[in-house]
């Protein structure tokens, strides 16, 4: 049982809130437990946006460090998840902005040389078919999300790639829940109309 074990709680949300409370009291072990619970989801959310494993790992580390430094500013521990994803969203936006600026001056070439395509390659042992499928999947996802508005894309990815609920998405995006619902329904309606895409996901999942 870890040192930072918290009082008996009923739901995972209660457990997260209790850990966040402890972490806010400068308890690094409690924060480590939160890292274990959220790092994969945050990484997935970041990866979806930056599409580079190396960048996504660096950013995930930065996001948790920023969260750790600012834990005392989290007023409501029950909102830890949306608060963490807000930090992630801002960090990714900063990263993409910097990348855009450096690309204007061709400064990112060195970085691209360091991190070629194999950066995103599957781990050893995965066969070529899986790699082809992976590429096809992300191409289809990109093709679909290109047809969504910025807000639809944001809400859709937070819902289906990061697994956030509508209330949490509303907190991350700083919009009210009905606005989030509207954008989500519009995005899902576009997804509904793409039968070829749905068939691909159904067949290969």
């Amino acid at each position: 049982m870890p040192e930072a074990a918290v009082e008996k709680t009923d739901t995972p949300e209660d457990r997260v809130a209790a850990l966040a409370r402890r972490a806010g009291e400068k308890n690094p072990r409690a924060f480590e437990e939160l890292c274990g619970m959220f790092s994969a989801r945050v990484f997935r959310m970041v990866y979806f946006r930056v599409r580079s494993k190396m960048d996504a790992e660096d950013l995930t580390q930065e996001i948790f460090m920023a969260a750790f430094r600012s834990m005392d500013r989290l007023k409501d521990p029950e909102k830890f998840a949306p608060w963490l994803f807000s930090i992630a969203k801002n960090k990714v936006a900063d990263h993409l902005r910097k990348k855009k600026i450096t690309s204007l001056f061709f400064l990112n070439r060195a970085r691209e040389d360091e991190a070629p395509e194999e950066d995103n390659a599957p781990a050893e042992g995965q066969d070529a078919l899986e790699e082809v499928l992976r590429r096809e999947f992300w191409e289809k996802v990109d093709g679909f999300t290109a047809g969504l508005s910025r807000m639809e894309k944001e809400v859709f990815s937070l819902r289906f790639f990061s697994g956030l609920g509508l209330k949490e998405i509303a907190q991350v995006t700083k919009k009210d829940e009905s606005t989030v619902k509207t954008h989500l329904y519009r995005a899902v309606a576009k997804f509904r109309d793409r039968e070829d895409l749905r068939a691909f996901f159904k067949e290969n999942a």
């Binding site: 890292c35 997935r44 979806f48 790992e57 430094r69 289906f160 790639f161 996901f201 999942a205």
Partner: protein, 184 residues
């Protein structure tokens, strides 16, 4: 590729409402929920869309590389770095300081005799070359051009002036005058 048969809803409830039920089952409206309980076709359609969305989530997780290094957190809580955030008061103070600096510079940089902020007269576009003529002006205040008009040049005017003065007292003594000489 698309070999599966799409299920069709009965049509009693709009596609948009059914889509909303698939996207967010917890938020399904009560009449739609009641309809879904009684209509297998619509329920199958909603389940199909919800299933496709779940497949998307599954595949996204499958094709996202695993986080290969764990997140490291320092043992001690670091001192929080307060980022620089310009406040409106600070911005106003900076603006006032800038205005004051410019005003001081403006007053001190004005030439003597000139009113700060007003132009100090017409700009000099050319300077007359007069240094060679200053001697002439000392003997004859008329500039050479007037002498030329009068048919004399500067040299003649100087000679006339010397003759008027008479012989140089140093070089040539005054002639002795007889007491009987008429001086009139």
């Amino acid at each position: 590729m698309n070999s599966r048969k799409e299920k069709e809803p009965c049509g009693a409830v709009s596609l948009d409402l059914l889509t909303e039920a698939a996207a967010h089952p917890e938020g399904t409206l009560e009449p739609v929920r009641e309809h879904l309980e009684s209509c297998p076709a619509c329920r199958a359609w909603v389940d199909q869309i919800a299933g496709d969305l779940a497949s998307l989530t599954t595949m996204a997780a499958r094709f996202t590389p695993a986080l290969s290094r764990s997140v490291r957190i320092p043992d001690k809580s670091p001192a929080r770095v307060i980022p620089f955030r310009p406040r409106p008061v600070l911005a106003l103070a900076l603006a006032a300081a800038l205005v004051l600096t410019l005003a001081v510079h403006w007053f001190t940089a004005a030439p003597p005799g000139a009113t700060p902020g007003l132009p100090s007269g017409p700009e000099t576009v050319a300077v007359a070359e007069t240094s060679g003529e200053e001697t002439i002006y000392a003997d004859n205040i008329l500039p050479p051009v007037y002498l030329e008009i009068a048919g004399e040049d500067a040299q003649d005017a100087e000679e006339d002036f010397s003759e008027y003065q008479g012989a140089d007292a140093d070089s040539e003594p005054w002639p002795d005058l007889d007491p009987g000489t008429d001086m009139s």
